[in-house]
């Protein structure tokens, strides 16, 4: 299906099914409520085929440009039907399985992720491994020919306590081999030895968790990609994280600014604050659109997506800074549901310059790779 037709038909369908799709709670809701809503929406969209567009037929998709699924995620975010941060996890997890898992495994599990039957998480970061991913130490050792045994810890793992599976990066070579000694596995979270301890975030929600691996036995055929080839798996996520995930986030931020525009006073100060936030959002959207088209045209995305990352973080801060300035006391003192939503989102927005590679790491990449300023060591 062509994009313009897809967009028109999708929005017509979403309009017609608005009552069915609408959350049963008033935002922000608890994380349990948000997850239940997202899985319910995915099930309805799978039944109606919408969530199958843009995915390959061999994993239960209907084919077509990946931009179709990006458009779907953006439409859901713009209508507040699913949190884009949670929903767009599909974008970083499903392509990994499609590109690196044995074909039968991908065909079996990807439809479960799309249909809302399962939730997966991404086990990358560790207590000693934030921006410096190549230093990870969670260890996988072979036991016979058919099994690997995993020991170690992950942290900041979003939705770990809800998850059925985990795309896990482990150390299989020496630590000083850095990115050359890493291997990825697809681990069932109900395997004996896996335990999860949710962390309370700054907004009071428990979106991420610590995950402990204590002699966790994983079949060798659950290896993703090659032995010591985990870095390629990790890097393959980047183009999706920096394109479709961002487009969904941008749709969400437009809706946030619109919510602010609906209630802000119509005076010069509000106009300047809102206008400046909109100028930034538009520049981000324009940049992200260029990036989506480059990906769809088959170009390899690389260091230049660090620019998208800096822009998305800056615009997210600007949007919520605008809200805090124009809604005095709402973030700090308002105990209504509306106040709770702005407060939760405002606090969460501060993470935009941290997750997915800090703003500083992005600037380092831009300086070295795009401006050719040489080494900073």
């Amino acid at each position: 299906m062509e994009m313009a037709e897809f967009r028109t038909e999708l929005h017509r369908w979403l309009d017609a099914h608005a009552d069915e799709l609408e959350p049963a709670f008033s935002p922000p809701g608890t994380l349990d409520e948000q997850i239940a809503q997202m899985q319910r929406v995915k099930a309805i969209l799978f039944e109606a085929d919408w969530i199958r567009y843009g995915w390959p037929e061999r994993v239960g998709g209907l084919g077509g440009s990946p931009m179709l699924r990006t458009e779907l995620g953006a439409a859901l975010a713009a209508r507040d039907l699913a949190d884009p941060g949670l929903f767009s996890l599909i974008e970083v997890l499903a392509p990994t399985l499609i590109d690196f898992a044995p074909a039968e495994l991908a065909a079996e599990v990807v439809p479960r992720l799309l249909s809302g039957a399962e939730i997966w998480c991404q086990g990358f970061s560790e207590p000693g491994t934030g921006s410096d991913l190549a230093s990870l130490t969670c260890r996988a050792e072979p036991e016979g020919d058919a099994t690997w045994v995993i020991n170690g810890q992950k942290v900041w793992t979003s939705l770990a306590q809800y998850s059925d599976r985990c795309v896990l990066l482990t150390r299989t070579g020496p630590v000083d081999a850095r990115h050359r000694g890493i291997t990825a596995f697809f681990v069932d979270m109900d395997t004996p030895g896996v335990s999860v301890a949710p962390l309370e975030m700054i907004n009071g929600q428990h979106e991420f968790a610590e995950v402990f691996f204590d002699n966790v036995a994983v079949p060798a055929d659950r290896m993703l990609g090659d032995l010591h080839g985990g870095w390629a798996v990790a890097m393959s996520i980047l183009p999706y994280e920096r394109s479709s995930c961002f487009w969904q986030r941008i749709a969400y931020l437009y809706r946030r600014l619109e919510k602010l525009v609906e209630v802000a006073p119509d005076d010069d100060r509000a106009a300047e604050v809102i206008g400046n936030a909109f100028v930034q959002l538009h520049a981000l959207r324009a940049r992200s659109r260029v990036t989506q088209h480059r990906l769809a045209d088959g170009q390899a995305l690389g260091a230049e997506t660090s620019i998208d990352k800096v822009l998305v973080a800056t615009a997210e801060h600007a949007t919520y800074d605008a809200a805090r300035r124009l809604l005095p006391g709402v973030v700090e003192m308002d105990d209504s549901a509306t106040g709770a939503a702005w407060r939760s989102e405002y606090l969460y927005s501060r993470a935009a310059t941290i997750y997915g590679g800090t703003a500083e790491v992005q600037r380092n990449i831009i300086a070295r790779r795009l401006l050719d300023l040489g080494s900073d060591e």
């Binding site: 609906e262 802000a264 300086a367």
Partner: protein
């Protein structure tokens, strides 16, 4: 529209012509020789994009902005026709008329000094019309200001008899294209400022190493590049969906980008960037002037904010 090869060729031709033009030849005549007026008619987007980006990149002074505004008004541009631009930091039509006489206040490019006629847009909204007056009816004064090389003049017309009436016209289109042109020129200037700072950072040695090795310097230059690339994308969006709002957003972004790149580049250039020995100051000064032309970043953002508040909605404007 041109294809990529034609664009690259034109870009190279324009850049070469600008660089090799001797100081006594005006860039206007260089462009006219390259077929600028024809290109403006047949491939306006590519012509404006390439010519104004190049003007910005070489810090060239030219009056071809007049041709862009005139043709956007639906009037045939010609080398001896100047146009009255809005006063600095404003964007309303600069003239008023009673049908017989015209009065106006605004700025103009250097062309007004030699043109046969000055075109003036008068009135507002549906009542907007274009008239010309002969140069002899125009009071003009060269603006020294921050950028004397820019060639801008402040112009006043006091109850002059209309030379010719050109009928109704769309001022929105003139502002849209004026902003698009100025924003491209700012992008060209920003890329040059960034390159000057980058080159300096790779050559300047302090504490026994080139300053490009210091993270504080690297991050400033990285931020400058982020701003320039964001501007580039808004210009692509403005060219794909030409309209008052996409152009306003591009011009606001350009103004802000000029501020960001100017500040970071100047800090990295440090002492030498504070002198007139180094070419940086010319780009900085020109970008200050270009930001004010058709409205500064803050003024345009405020105007856009009022539009959003009036409609209580935030349009997405561009789609995948």
């Amino acid at each position: 529209m041109m294809d990529a090869t034609e664009r690259d060729l034109l870009q190279q031709t324009v850049r070469d012509a600008f660089v090799s033009a001797d100081t006594t030849t005006s860039l206007d005549s260089v462009l006219v020789d390259l077929g600028w007026l024809e290109m403006l008619g047949t491939a306006r987007r590519d012509a404006v994009d390439i010519v104004f980006r190049s003007l910005g990149a070489v810090n060239g002074t030219s009056s071809v902005l007049d041709d862009v505004v005139v043709s956007a008004l639906g009037i045939e541009p010609r080398a001896d026709l100047a146009v009255l631009l809005p006063s600095f930091a404003t964007w309303h039509a600069p003239g008023t008329t009673d049908g017989t006489d015209v009065s106006a206040m605004g700025v103009a490019t250097a062309r007004v000094a030699t043109a046969a006629d000055l075109l003036i847009a008068c009135g507002t909204g549906a009542e907007l019309s274009a008239v010309t007056v002969p140069r002899s009816a125009v009071e003009q004064r060269v603006i020294e200001g921050v950028d004397p090389d820019g060639g801008f003049r402040v112009v006043r017309v006091d109850r002059a008899a209309i030379g010719s009436s050109l009928g109704r016209c769309e001022w929105d289109a003139a502002i849209t294209w004026g902003r698009i042109a100025a924003a491209h020129q700012i992008e060209g200037a920003c890329r040059s400022m960034l390159e000057l700072a980058r080159t300096h950072a790779l050559e300047r040695v302090q504490f026994g190493r080139v300053i490009a090795g210091f993270q504080a310097v690297r991050h400033r230059l990285a931020e400058a590049l982020v701003a320039v690339e964001a501007l580039d994308a808004t210009l692509t969006a403005a060219m794909d969906e030409v309209g008052p709002l996409t152009a306003a957003l591009a011009k606001a972004t350009a103004g802000r980008t000029g501020q960001i790149v100017g500040a970071h580049a100047q800090q990295v250039l440090a002492g030498i960037g504070f002198t007139t020995d180094h070419p940086f100051h010319r780009f900085l000064k020109r970008s200050l002037v270009l930001e004010g032309l058709f409205g500064s970043a803050d003024e345009i953002a405020t105007e856009i904010g009022h539009q959003l508040l009036a409609t209580r909605c935030v349009p997405t404007l561009i789609e995948l």
